[in-house]
């Protein structure tokens, strides 16, 4: 109890100290799960940080800590940033949730933003992107491009976000190619080039000629390039160094505009705890250039899908859709609500295999 009070006291003192200097500088901290050079997820968050620096120039100071383990160490890393006088802290991975909640309690004056989580407080917002919208677009390309009708999918962890992506991609791939089959490997990591390369190689050897990934490194693309005749997609980042093939398109997370908006809100004193879930229409999810062996008609079809999702004309989860066990999920024309999507823990009908339980 005294400890909490001590910290709060320190935070208050710092809060005052920083508001004294706040006229010139707002301090913004970022906690990353991977290294900033991962070429994927963390890389893009860091691009967002750099966008903040570029936009505000001398008015902000940004700090970051990379490769923070999810768990006991995360809380110390976040506390450290708050102690050092950060006004706003972005914790950019799901696994930082409880650590962020605990730290937010100790530092009521500091604003926190947690990516992809669901716990909020007066000084703790959550934000995420509708990555699944991008998955639908990739699903169209994947379904058309596979010659073996086998698509490999490297999953990170079997959490709703990842399962949503698998379902979204499968639904569209199946529509354009009814014979398509998904083979899913769980890597149990967000970033581990060796494991990801192993998973990709195993999938390729089993005859999958299209690889989708929900892990953050470019290792699967490197493995595909080595084997030849396999296509991949950039994940979180464009992964442009593998253009025009094996990487034929990508889902890019574009955090910069959101980060700039939130930093501005802190500067203006208008920051409020919010829950943001933005997609293609807000520009948070961007489809990377479609390249290489993708024929023009497939490209146009994929772009049409992107535009239909952006305009709200089409929802990636539109009925009729059944769950894997054959039970009815969505009726004809019905679309999924966000609550179901956020807690999604089932495959749609047609996907083989079980979600690890």
């Amino acid at each position: 109890m005294t400890f909490t009070r001590l910290l709060t006291g320190a935070a208050l003192a710092l809060g005052m100290a920083t508001t004294a200097i706040a006229e010139d500088k707002t301090k913004v901290g970022f906690i990353y799960v991977g290294p900033i050079g991962d070429g994927g997820y963390t890389y893009e968050h860091n691009q967002g940080r750099l966008a903040v620096e570029e936009h505000f120039g001398d008015k902000v100071e940004t700090v970051y800590q990379e490769s923070v383990p999810e768990g006991a160490d995360a809380e110390r890393a976040i506390t450290q940033m708050a102690l050092q006088g950060a006004d706003l802290i972005f914790t950019t991975s799901f696994g930082f949730m409880d650590a962020t909640v605990n730290t937010a309690k100790k530092f009521p004056k500091v604003k926190f933003e947690h990516a992809t989580g669901y716990k909020r407080a007066d000084n703790l917002s959550t934000y995420s992107a509708r990555f699944y919208e991008g998955r639908s677009v990739l699903g169209v390309i994947a379904g058309h491009m596979t010659k073996t009708n086998k698509i490999g999918y490297i999953g990170s962890y079997p959490i709703p976000e990842v399962i949503r992506g698998i379902n979204a991609a499968y639904i569209e791939a199946k529509k354009v190619n009814p014979d398509v089959e998904f083979n899913i490997i769980w890597a149990y990591t967000w970033f581990d080039p060796a494991k990801e390369a192993d998973a990709a190689t195993a999938l390729i050897e089993q005859g999958n000629d299209v690889i989708l990934q929900h892990t953050d490194s470019t290792a699967p693309s490197a493995a595909a390039k080595a084997k030849g005749d396999v296509i991949t997609f950039g994940q979180a980042s464009d992964m442009a160094e593998y253009k025009p093939e094996p990487r034929v398109s990508s889902i890019i997370d574009n955090w910069g505009p959101y980060y700039i908006e939130r930093v501005q809100a802190v500067m203006d004193g208008t920051w409020e705890s919010t829950d943001t879930w933005a997609g293609i229409d807000d520009g948070m999810v961007v489809i990377g250039e479609i390249t290489g062996p993708v024929p023009d008609d497939v490209k146009q079809e994929a772009l049409a899908m992107r535009d239909a999702i952006a305009s709200g004309e089409y929802h990636p989860f539109t009925g009729p859709l059944n769950k894997q066990d054959g039970s009815e999920w969505l009726k004809e024309g019905e679309t999924a609500d966000d609550a179901t999507l956020l807690g999604m823990n089932f495959y749609v009908e047609g996907i083989k295999g079980d979600i690890p339980q």
């Binding site: 970051y64 800590q65 006991a72 799901f94 962890y157 339980q357």
Partner: protein
């Protein structure tokens, strides 16, 4: 030219001097590395070694030092018993995981009971779990002569898979909206390994680590079993004549280190970590090997080495966030510590001599 002469006896003086020397060399070479990255090496070294202890926010970092050092010391004490006797348990990480799973299992099974028996039960289960996991390589070695290094190491990966399946399946928080990870034990009072005195970082794991240091000291210096352990390591043949039964020693050393690693895992999951998650283990079981050797396999040395390594962790994080040093540079810095320790060990066994080249 410089020549090495083998000493008739390992130098006692250098045995004591080499760890600080290794730290010093690490500081110099590490400093050069930081300088090459364009950071001020003096500030970086100061941030790592001084800031957490005496800096502006030392009130927060000093307790954190204990929190970070406790599992390292607890595991390293157990490992040192075996290492002294030439029994190599490399799989403490796995025993740490199993200890945590067993401890958390008791708590989650009892939820939401308020009984005071829960925490003692968790301690017992944690120690037993780690012990049982270490018994696998022990029994295989005694019975079939398998290599305990390989078996214990491989079992780490088995334990990691078990951890993942527990976090996703049986131990998953039913109120967690389908996300993996157990209930947070910090929010379940009877199972929470809270600070004994608020603000000090002292939790039961820290207490257990200190007790383990004392017990290990007494065991090695005052007890016949400790004598047997030392004898087996130093003179295996003589040990046989002295009536040491190697099989029993293997079972004891692996069992004790497994139980201590299990305890460390249990205290961690019930306290600082709070949850069984897929990424629960962060490598304490492997880092403890560095701690054991840095501490010269001596209980007091391990205590100091554990604190030192905790300092490099916390200071290293500080250097990352304050100076934007890359995480890899800090990890490299820690790795250098063991590397240089092994390198300067040459001084314990050899004497450096200047000789003229003509001698050849």
């Amino acid at each position: 030219m410089l020549r090495l002469d083998r000493r008739p006896q390992p130098s006692r003086l250098w045995t004591l001097l080499t760890p600080p020397l290794a730290v010093l060399v690490t500081m110099i070479v590490g400093g050069a590395l930081f300088a090459a990255l364009g950071k001020d090496p003096v500030v970086a070294i100061e941030t790592i070694f001084w800031e957490p202890l005496f800096g502006e926010f030392a009130f927060y970092y000093r307790p954190q030092l204990l929190v970070k050092a406790a599992p390292l010391i607890l595991i390293a004490i157990g490992l040192s018993l075996g290492f002294r006797a030439g029994i190599w348990n490399i799989g403490a990480e796995g025993q740490y995981i199993i200890g945590a799973l067993c401890g958390a299992g008791v708590a989650l099974a009892a939820y939401p009971s308020e009984s005071w028996l829960i925490f003692p039960g968790m301690v017992l289960a944690g120690a037993l779990g780690g012990w049982a996991w270490a018994m696998i390589p022990a029994v295989l070695k005694v019975r079939f002569g398998t290599n305990e290094i390989l078996v214990s190491l491989m079992l780490v990966y088995v334990a990691e898979q078990l951890l993942a399946s527990m976090a996703l399946g049986p131990m998953r928080n039913p109120e967690g909206m389908g996300f993996p990870g157990s209930r947070n034990l910090q929010q379940y009072a009877p199972a929470h390994n809270a600070e004994l005195i608020a603000g000090t970082g002292m939790h039961w794991g820290v207490a257990a680590a200190l007790i383990a240091v004392i017990f290990s000291y007494v065991l090695l210096n005052r007890h016949i079993l400790g004598y047997h352990i030392r004898l087996t390591g130093e003179a295996p043949r003589a040990a046989r004549f002295a009536g040491v039964r190697p099989g029993r020693l293997i079972l004891f050393c692996l069992g004790a280190s497994g139980a201590l690693a299990g305890l460390a895992g249990m205290f961690e999951v019930a306290g600082p970590a709070g949850q069984v998650t897929i990424d629960f283990n962060v490598g304490y079981g492997f880092t403890a090997i560095i701690v054991a050797f840095l501490g010269r396999l001596h209980p007091v040395g391990i205590l100091l080495a554990g604190l030192l390594l905790a300092l490099t962790y916390i200071g290293g994080e500080l250097a990352q966030s304050n100076m934007q040093l890359p995480a890899a540079a800090v990890q490299l810095f820690q790795g250098m510590l063991l590397f240089f320790l092994l390198a300067v060990d040459v001084l314990v066994h050899f004497r450096l001599r200047w000789r003229r080249a003509e001698a050849a």
